[in-house]
């Protein structure tokens, strides 16, 4: 099992002395390749700080953070930019697609910024769009796509060129429940195929797609929930769920 993200006592604070504000207390956490990790917690608990550190948008004030084998704390701005272009992809609640560009052009941006040729970038963008089921809509502009389709374009952009780590900040926030679910299926598939994803969400039903859910509170990881090992077949067996159902139905034990 390869560790893709490793925090060893990594912390982030702002200011100094008595005005110092701790956004994330020293935190130790490892995320493996193939793992979908959800992070839950009230506003202000440090979820977004954690995501920004892993995404190379920010650096830890102390402790160590290793992403894909590289120490983020010792990176210079150029190396951080490289990490963002080649290793981690971001998906936000607000889609941040450029309205004047087609879906394919939006998805190609990270590769073009990385110096790939236009033709090469377009080819990879079309592949990435096809993998999220949007191959047919590659030449549409964002305004001509539904909210769910736009979010899938954003995921295609985050993963384009084979970036292994996907960071998603409330990616289903603006979507209805069925559309949000299709986004979660995509994230889960990315991980089932060996990728890694960290999802920040308030939505428990979406967090439940993750293998593991960590709970943050006041900048600390206070607890975690784990999914039972392998997914079972759809045919229900005797589980704790059955007891709940029987109680609801008022059936005799």
């Amino acid at each position: 099992m390869t560790t893709m993200v490793q925090l060893d006592g990594a912390a982030r604070w702002f200011g100094a002395g008595h005005t110092r504000v701790v956004a994330l207390h020293p935190t130790t956490l490892a995320v493996a390749a193939g793992e979908l990790l959800a992070v839950m917690g009230p506003s202000g608990s440090g979820k977004t700080t954690l995501l920004s550190l892993v995404g190379g948008l920010d650096k830890p004030s102390e402790g160590r953070l290793v992403v894909d084998g590289k120490d983020v704390g010792s990176m210079n701005p150029k190396e951080l930019a490289l990490l963002r272009r080649r290793t981690v992809g971001y998906v936000f609640q607000d889609l941040n697609l450029l309205a004047g560009l087609t879906a394919a052009e939006n998805v190609a941006i990270p590769l073009e910024l990385d110096g790939r040729s236009v033709g090469d970038a377009r080819h990879a963008a079309l592949d990435s769009l096809a993998s999220v089921g949007l191959g047919e809509l590659a030449n549409r502009f964002p305004d001509d796509l539904s909210g769910g389709e736009q979010q899938r374009v954003a995921i295609a952009r985050a993963l384009v060129g084979g970036r292994p780590i996907l960071l998603a900040d409330e990616p289903t926030g603006a979507l209805d429940s069925m559309t949000g679910e299709s986004v979660m299926r995509l994230l889960r598939r990315h991980c089932d195929e060996g990728g890694t994803a960290i999802l920040v969400t308030h939505d428990a039903a979406h967090a439940a797609w993750a293998h593991r859910v960590v709970f943050l509170r006041d900048g600390r990881v206070v607890d975690e929930a784990r999914s039972a090992s392998a997914p079972d077949a759809a045919v229900p067996g005797a589980t704790a769920a059955d007891a709940t159902v029987s109680e609801m139905a008022g059936a005799p034990a």
């Binding site: 701790v22 839950m40 920010d58 889960r188 967090a207 607890d223 999914s227 039972a228």
Partner: protein, 187 residues
């Protein structure tokens, strides 16, 4: 209640024996509400006493041999059941709500810990439902998926309620937030 109308709905489709009703009911509800055959016969007897179903075959001391069909009164009753929304007359007296209320009032209980333990258990339950949902076939397992959605949304509602309790008590300083905690917004 639901078993009674469930059997009535099945009998509205075709006359049936008790054991046929049992397996059809279980199949329709994705095998999540298992009935015992005694419960089926007791329910049928009550329906028969009310004139909502009747025995097709000659009376027999052996329950297994009797076939039942729905009466006109039964159809009317069933139609009005389908036509009426389900309204809870009073809040369900569930253990979790009572536990949280009592813990809050007690003052000596770690309410924050209680809420978090429950939250973890509920999320793990949701994860189990979600795994089964991910493995289900959207076309073949429709009944199962509708049922799973019900369970998922109820569990989700419970978690939202836990979050709301937490926020409410925290605002009053009643959950014992750790020392040195900050109220800084997400960055």
């Amino acid at each position: 209640m639901s078993v009674r109308y469930g059997l009535l709905a099945l009998l509205a489709e075709a006359p049936s024996h008790g054991y046929q009703l049992k397996s059809a009911f279980e199949h329709r509800t994705a095998n999540q509400w298992l009935l015992n055959i005694g419960q089926v016969y007791t329910t049928i007897q009550r329906l028969e006493q009310k004139g909502l179903v009747e025995s097709v075959s000659a009376p027999s001391p052996d329950d297994d041999r009797r076939e039942y069909r729905i009466t006109d009164a039964g159809r009317t009753e069933l139609e009005s059941w389908f036509a009426s929304p389900v309204v809870l007359d009073e809040p369900t007296r569930d253990e979790l709500t009572i536990k949280v209320l009592l813990a809050t009032a007690a003052g000596s209980v770690d309410v924050s810990g209680l809420l978090q333990r429950q939250r973890r258990a509920s999320i793990e339950q949701l994860q189990a439902y979600t795994q089964r949902k991910a493995a289900a076939d959207p076309e073949r397992d429709v009944a199962f998926l509708i049922l799973l959605d019900a369970l998922i949304f109820r569990t989700e509602a419970e978690i939202r309620w836990l979050d709301a309790c937490d926020a409410r008590l925290r605002a009053l300083g009643m959950t014992g937030a750790p020392a040195g905690a900050t109220e800084e917004g997400d960055r």
